[in-house]
Symmetry: C2
């Protein structure tokens, strides 16, 4: 995978090393489960969500290293959602990041449990985040709400229903399915730091817009990129008859919408104090990515 | 369902009412997901795990009502595990508590998401438990560890592997799959109360033994009770070629083991201070239950 000079690779290296070190149990009988969990967890990717958390720490003047537990927990949640999303009863995808999906590699039963296990371990690791316990609890509440019915799982539900959506419905789908976890990846950090509400709101506005941007680009890439570059079969959305930004607005208008969303995210960020350079670089990467 | 005079029905009523009141989102588009979650959550049952939590509160001299958030969270986790356990790729069961299983009623995709949603909402609700934040975090760490690789999900993994197990393997399987969540149902309460370590250990010993007892009885009921009484097809274990206490030891010896386990649980409880009457009644119920 090529290294974009603009992406905060030092933060990606940090989280990559932390994820590689994670172990869940020394028991021999569950070693195969742990192997399946690590197979998906260590399959690479840009680690956008944990890098956002670490970049937010830097923007707030805190050492990113201190936030590795929550950053790792967020990536575990994201990985669990991908494994369940790929299942035959869901999107039924065979490839993810260029490798066989979890159920293709380990069987459907193990894939379900690998997802469940990653979610449970994410919560455990989050509980071990150093800091003021009241702040850690509030941040974990933010993350779990972002992954529940009024978040990621609710968005996946709207997605599998496969009903025809209008523009408002599409925005709601993605705000829940993708947006809230991306938003939480940023917002847990000011919550952990006890940052005041008005400053936290600026970060929330930035992060919400980033979630929208992420999804528009995802929909564009699904029709413009090759399987090899995407690491998964392209045209998957069309095959499933899903409403996307491209199917609803056409490719050119979708590209314009992405540009508007990117500008809004940048403008929210400009209001935040601190060194937001790395957050800006992640926003730029999301806007210009090809995978 | 008949009411056993010995079971702490007042505590069951408390948790039943709290579960019935739970709502996860007002959004119309996810109402179907919420319906599926509530379908399984409100399917009845003795509510052994949350009743254990509330009975432990009573034993420690605290008002059970104060612990309804964690008690509800524990039942949500238990319900999520049942939904995923019943899936076609797992145990492939059609009935649960006398009703069609979640995937039979709503489809496999919605069942997977209903389980995922219950887990996420359980964590959110747990984060809202009133109390000393450091204690709430420690208790949630206990629950999430009990549901992860070195707990429930790890036990389900050993179960689906379906390898022939010796006595030690069988004990490990059930200690993880059933025992740790039952144990956590008791132990989160002294952790929340900041009870000293030696007293907490007594409750942990009681709860660990209760987990063993619960599973031996489960295995016995699977071969001795009718489908109607169990609310699920009996003989399910044998059909899946699973090692059970009955297949390993025979019915009579399994009954003796249950008696020994019950005696050990009672004896651990006798060492605890406080009014442990309700905990004793739950242990007696688990020993003598027919469903």
């Amino acid at each position: 995978m090529a290294t974009e000079p603009g992406y905060p690779e030092d933060l990606r290296d940090l989280i990559e090393a932390a994820l590689a070190e994670l172990r869940f149990s020394p028991a021999p009988r569950t070693a195969g489960l742990e192997e399946a969990m690590r197979y998906s967890l260590l399959a690479g990717g840009k680690r956008v969500r944990p890098v956002l958390a670490l970049a937010t720490a830097r923007a707030l003047g805190a050492a990113p290293e201190r936030f590795l537990p929550v950053a790792a927990a967020i990536e575990l949640v994201h990985t669990y959602s991908l494994i369940h999303d790929d299942l035959p009863a869901m999107d039924d995808d065979d490839l993810r990041r260029g490798k066989p999906t979890s159920h293709k590699q380990f069987g459907e039963d193990v894939a379900i449990l690998a997802g469940d296990g990653l979610f449970a371990e994410a919560v455990r690791i989050f509980c071990e985040q150093p800091g003021e316990p009241a702040h850690v609890l509030a941040a974990l509440r933010e993350l779990s709400a972002a992954t529940g019915v009024d978040g990621m799982v609710g968005g996946q539900y709207i997605d599998v229903l496969g009903e025809h959506l209008d523009a408002a419905g599409l925005r709601e789908l993605h705000a829940l399915k993708t947006g809230r976890l991306i938003s939480a990846s940023v917002c847990v950090v000011p919550i952990l730091e006890g940052t005041d509400e008005s400053e936290t709101l600026i970060y929330r506005r930035f992060a919400d817009e980033l979630g929208v941007l992420f999804q528009i680009i995802d929909d564009i890439l699904d029709v413009t990129e090759s399987d090899e570059r995407l690491g998964k079969p392209h045209g998957s959305d069309e095959r499933h008859g899903k409403t996307t930004y491209v199917s609803l607005y056409g490719l050119e208008r979708a590209r314009e919408l992405a540009g508007e969303s990117h500008a809004k995210a940048r403008s929210a960020l400009a209001e935040a104090g601190g060194d937001t350079e790395d957050l800006r670089r992640v926003a730029d990467y999301i806007f210009t990515r090809h995978e």
